[in-house]
Symmetry: C2
Subunit: 176 residues, 2 copies
Amino acid sequence: MSKREQILNAASQVIATKGANQLTLDAVAAEAGVSKGGLLYHFPNKDELIKGLNIHVITCFRNMIEAELESGIPYSQAYLQATIKTSADPDFLLVNSSLIAAVSNNSDFLNLWAEEYERFHQAWEQEGLSKEKSVVLRTLCDGLWFSSMFQLYPVANVDQQIVFDYMMKLLREELS
Amino acid sequence: MSKREQILNAASQVIATKGANQLTLDAVAAEAGVSKGGLLYHFPNKDELIKGLNIHVITCFRNMIEAELESGIPYSQAYLQATIKTSADPDFLLVNSSLIAAVSNNSDFLNLWAEEYERFHQAWEQEGLSKEKSVVLRTLCDGLWFSSMFQLYPVANVDQQIVFDYMMKLLREELS
DNA sequence: TTAAATTAACCGTCCAGACGGTACAGTTAG
DNA sequence: CTAACTGTACCGTCTGGACGGTTAATTTAA
């Protein structure tokens, strides 16, 4: 793992354990085992660090979808698979913390996600699903993310499986 | 509106417009038209302010559900109605910002929500819905909140209606 | 009845510490 | 020689919060 990646992981670790408001350059450098100077060598300022974190996570998610597509399944199913995999412990740490950092700092970081969502949307549209099904499916995916982010109830893992099965059922109905 | 409420609204306004990391006592006091001392009279420290914001919002949501129940509809439907109403512009501002403040500061604030969710759960269970339906419905509600929070795609309002209709359809199927 | 005491609600200033960021002189590995 | 760092020292600003007023209403005491 490159130092750069170590730093990004450290940043999300700090957010996850201490909260986004404790995301300081010193804390990230310490967590990553890097000096402050070294941190600032890779990310010239804090905003660039958060931006880098978001871009990294978005890229990971996109790659995950593309990896799923390799097996020849339709896009919508690949998206569901990637969502399930992502929202499962503990990989979700990165998504979680990058979104939190983005929304906490209220800069243009959420736009990065919005642009990616736009691409997701276009791919969904070409799938031939009914409007209702596609909106419901995407809202369910969002709901899984929400539940992974805030963890407001503990039995999430079992429930996630139920939701996933339901989504697959919806997909099969439609595509057959 | 009491000064206390003014302050809470100001806090969520600051979070919504400037981001959670700009939630400073000075900014809230200025937004509320109160001096810093006056703010600290009502909330002895910043944590108490955030806690107060979350309790306020949770109470509002609970009251909204209870208001819906007055008309004799079942609990699950009241919950859906309250969710739709809450996630519609611009009332969601309060929910949104209180959750963001809670997760940014990573203190025990999310526990307040978790406790409330626990109560929601118990009410859902007594509804006689199948496990699958109730999990799907609740995940859809979470998804609506997620989409209202992050607003990653713009056409949310139309889609929300579709999701709501779908949820009502699910409910009718089951309860009939 | 009225003066004094108390209290609630709020103002405005000040300060220690935290934080982002700079500067720069070394060090290590390839 | 260069890229990728380390380490230290430092600066200016921001921020939480302590603190000492102030004002007006209310209560108490004589």
